[in-house]
């Protein structure tokens, strides 16, 4: 925490944007101001040490205009003698840069713990699907390239993605969170994965099931049973799991698939096992 000197570093229009503006301490730091702004609730605070380590920012100078000024603004070191127009441009770049750093930071150990706290507080909202019973969501992207797709919300109960409710959140760039983040979180904290349920909505007319829908649901049941059998058979065949099972001695529960080691196999490798 070395840069708390420039307390008046923010332009006046920032003060106007700042919504809950009772506590003037927040405006000391650009990051605190940014996180306090309405619509930025999904972001967590990136550690200052992480930003100051240039290695973590490799390649971002080509992504962001006025990179060095933007970085100065984020770390509250920006020269105060800039004219307003320039300041606006730098401000915009700083938000973009912060977002891109954020995407990298949240898949580090420390970033994951910070996002985990937000997940537990349901800062990202709850799943709109009725049968998920308000399960908390996590932000996810469909593309890591900036300016391509907006942020989506991943529900680990139904394993599907949803659009944010509020238009303010729906306009956030997905690249500020990245495609990998929620899945990385569950790799590191597998105990957070909820038990999957086979509940589903059954459409009925005057109490009678619909033939076409029932047919599809039978097909889905078949797929589910097939994949379950495949996974059970596959887990027994995996050497890594066997080794883990014997070492820890409690990994015999077949419902708990192998964690960690055999994680990111490509789909091709999966086909080979079959």
């Amino acid at each position: 925490m070395q840069t708390n000197l420039h307390s008046s570093g923010n332009p006046s229009q920032d003060m106007d944007d700042y919504t809950s503006g009772s506590d003037s301490d927040y405006t000391k730091y650009w990051i605190d101001w940014f996180l306090g702004t309405k619509g930025n609730e999904y972001f967590c605070e990136v550690d200052e040490e992480y930003i100051l380590d240039r290695f973590n920012l490799t390649g971002l100078n080509t992504e962001v205009q006025y990179y060095s000024q933007a970085l100065d603004l984020i770390t509250d070191n920006l020269d105060e003698n800039l004219d307003d127009e320039m300041r606006d441009i730098v401000e915009k770049s700083a938000r973009h840069l912060y977002g891109l750093i954020h995407a990298r930071f949240i898949i580090t150990t420390h970033g994951l713990t910070k996002m985990l706290e937000k997940f537990k507080k349901c800062d990202f909202g709850r799943c709109p699907r009725v049968l998920c019973h308000n399960h908390p969501l996590l932000p996810v992207a469909l593309s890591d390239v900036p300016y391509s797709k907006s942020v989506k919300l991943f529900c680990c109960r139904c394993e599907d993605i949803y659009n944010p409710k509020s238009s303010r959140h729906a306009s956030i760039d997905g690249a500020y969170f990245g495609c990998s983040f929620p899945h990385m979180l569950f790799q590191v904290y597998p105990q957070l994965v909820p038990p999957k349920s086979t509940d589903r909505y059954v459409p009925r007319i005057f109490g009678f099931k619909l033939h076409d829908v029932a047919k599809q649901q039978r097909y889905q049941d078949m797929i589910r049973e097939e994949s379950h059998a495949r996974i059970m058979a596959g887990i027994e065949g995996l050497p890594t799991t066997a080794a883990q099972g014997s070492s820890s001695g409690q990994q015999n529960n077949k419902n708990r698939a192998a964690d960690g080691v055999a994680v990111a196999t490509e789909s091709g490798a999966m086909a080979d096992v079959n």
């Binding site: 507080k121 349901c122 409710k165 790799q187 994965v193 909505y201 097909y219 887990i235 990111a264």
Partner: protein, 279 residues
């Protein structure tokens, strides 16, 4: 309504503090609603006290459907309400049935109805009665037509699921009896149900739409079902798909696996597959 209240209380208890921001937003909406409602209420009570037969007074049904948070309702035709056959059995569900029915039909209350303690109770009954008549009306030809128009106009919102590409949804209930659960939204593309995004619908009873309506609508108007390519979300880290054998690997992909019903036989097997087996 006690079950209802209890449910809401539970929901409130389960809600953590940090959703305040979203609530703020919704509060704004609700404030607007209340303002609108207030105006209408004044108008309504005003007309109640002075003249019932003024041409500027809105009929009760039209007024009710124009209230904030009642955008999902269709206007039930007067003839439908007036036909006693359509109301069979409702008198045993709704308290102050007769008074409530009079209110819905804009009839003068009878002089000897002194046993009614309060107008607000009759209003609540009228809302419930209207909702239950509505449940029956929207599965008739005329009601379906009205709701199909509302569906195409997007009055019910769109599916929150990303791969449904903002398909329009229809209101539906999971129970036909009032006071069990609030209204849900059915998406014809993913054939699943979702909670309405705005909290103004979180106290609207699902029974006012019923279990049948949504499916009857798409049965009668199959052209309303959208044609959207079936897509299943595949979780990946750094571009590598997560293995099925991982403890946190994909387990729910069956849920969104959709096939054209014509390509499936009655037991749910792919017809093409069985052909291949024979060869």
């Amino acid at each position: 309504m006690s079950a209802f209240d209890h449910q809401q209380q539970q929901q409130q208890l389960m809600r953590p503090d940090n959703v305040e921001e979203e609530e703020d937003e919704e509060d704004e909406e609700e404030e607007e609603d209340e303002q609108i409602q207030g105006e209408y209420n004044e108008e309504y009570y005003g007309s109640d006290v002075s003249n019932e037969s003024g041409p500027e007074t809105m009929p009760w049904i039209a007024w009710f459907c124009s209230l904030g948070g009642h955008q999902y309702f269709a206007e039930v035709a007067d003839e439908f309400v007036e036909d006693d056959f359509n109301l069979t059995g409702l008198n045993s569900i709704v308290p102050f049935y007769k008074e409530a029915l009079d209110m819905i039909l804009d009839l003068e209350p009878e002089e000897d109805s002194t046993k009614v303690p309060d107008v607000s109770i009759v209003e609540a009954s009228a809302e419930q009665l209207y909702g239950l008549i509505h449940q029956r009306f929207i599965v008739t030809r005329q009601g379906l037509q009205q709701m199909a128009d509302k569906y195409q106009a997007g009055h019910f919102g769109s599916c929150p699921r990303t791969f449904c590409q903002s398909t329009n949804v229809v209101p539906c209930g999971r129970y036909d009896l009032p006071g069990v659960e609030t209204v849900k939204l059915y998406c014809p593309n993913c054939q699943d149900i979702y909670s309405p995004p705005s909290s103004r619908y979180h106290n609207l009873d699902g029974a006012y739409f019923g279990t049948t309506f949504a499916h009857m609508l798409f049965h009668i108007y199959p052209e309303l079902v959208p044609i959207i390519p079936n897509k299943i979300y595949a979780p990946a880290i750094y571009g590598f798909k997560i293995s099925e054998y991982s403890r946190c690997g994909p387990r729910m992909q069956w849920l969104r696996n959709k096939q054209d019903p014509k390509s499936l036989d009655a037991s749910g097997k792919l017809i093409k597959d069985s052909d291949d087996d024979e060869k």
